[in-house]
């Protein structure tokens, strides 16, 4: 499974539609403090099924929807979609014939979020399972949030063991 493209709209400070092409190797993301680098990475975790508002640095999940600025009104909708090249055929059976998968998550203010896989409605569980089978997902140790690199060292031994499940 290869991740190839991430698209955001109305997600945190990315109010306008934004597209990030993910190519092989090392892609650097740079820019001044507060410009939105961590928000971009959080969009990836969110579309993979993150359910904790706190780990998205907000009080409630609606905090991921563009809240407005001095010159732009707030939005009521945010959407993130992720394109995957399904070369190793690791998707759930009903989608496994397809070469290209597009997972998207959409949230509306005060009415929760919904997932789609190749334009068909799916449950959060289906999405989470898809990524777990491919050794990744919203809680994968290979998604290291800002300031959290030391947390693996300071975690309790039983919590650390969870990283082995990712390797199994």
């Amino acid at each position: 499974m290869d991740f190839t493209r991430l698209r955001l709209s109305g997600f945190k400070s990315f109010v306008d539609p934004t597209e990030l092409i993910i190519e092989k190797g090392l892609t650097g993301v740079v820019g001044p403090n507060g410009c939105g680098k961590s928000n971009l990475l959080e969009a990836l975790r969110w579309v993979m099924g993150e359910n904790s508002a706190k780990s998205m640095r907000g009080a409630g999940m609606d905090d991921v929807i563009f809240a407005g600025t001095a010159s732009r009104p707030a939005r009521n909708l945010a959407e993130v979609s992720l394109n995957i090249f399904n070369n190793d055929r690791s998707a759930p059976a009903i989608f496994n014939d397809e070469q290209q998968l597009e997972i998207s998550r959409r949230i509306e203010r005060e009415s929760g979020s919904a997932y789609r896989l190749n334009a068909k409605d799916v449950r959060a569980k289906d999405v989470q399972l898809l990524f777990a089978d491919a050794s990744t997902g919203a809680h994968s140790p290979s998604l290291v949030s800002q300031g959290r690199i030391g947390s693996l060292i300071n975690a309790k031994p039983k919590d650390r063991r969870k990283i082995l499940e990712e390797a199994a």
């Binding site: 090392l26 650097g28 740079v30 010159s71 290979s142 290291v144 690199i149």
Partner: protein, 167 residues
């Protein structure tokens, strides 16, 4: 379940030992399953001693040493079972110049051995210069993020401009 976890533990431990000595240029480290005989309920202990130092409580390692130890473990998991994507948000912030270079050397090695794609947020000029491509995030309009593709030369200019704008 148990056999899988034990196999994973052995593989990750082998890789972890090697990656630690690569990143630290010596020293010794290993993993241990503790607190229970059942691997599905055990804790994962990390024993690590940088070159010339005694094996001590992990908490006594410095900020930079903890970051490198954590990276050795994350990459060891990759070598065992590569993940399609890896996201590192300013993990090089606590590292000195020598360790930033070792970290980048290791990233190159991971790219050769796995098909994992990396997204790396950094403020460090050395790390920027080692990327295959760069994206800049800017807020030309205050509070609104925009993504632009940046070539390495203009990244230097971007850093300089940030620096000059406020003077």
């Amino acid at each position: 379940g148990r056999a899988r976890i034990l196999k994973a533990f052995d593989d990750v431990n082998e890789h972890f030992k090697k990656l630690f000595t690569t990143l630290f240029g010596g020293g010794e480290a290993y993993l241990a399953l503790t607190e229970s005989d059942d691997p599905l309920d055990a804790g994962l202990e990390i024993m690590a001693s940088p070159p010339g130092k005694k094996m001590q409580n992990l908490g006594l390692l410095s900020g930079g040493e903890q970051a490198l130890t954590a990276l050795s473990l994350i990459f060891a998991v990759f070598m065992t079972n590569p993940s399609p994507i890896c996201v590192l948000d300013e993990v090089d912030a606590p590292l000195d110049d020598a360790n930033v270079t070792r970290f980048c050397d290791l990233l190159d090695e991971m790219c050769k051995n796995t098909s994992t794609r990396f997204l790396i947020v950094t403020h460090n000029a050395v790390t920027m210069s080692r990327m295959n491509r760069l994206f800049g995030v800017t807020m030309a309009e205050r509070g609104v993020s925009q993504l632009v593709s940046v070539d390495l030369d203009s990244a230097e200019r971007m850093r300089a401009r940030d620096h000059n704008r406020d003077h």
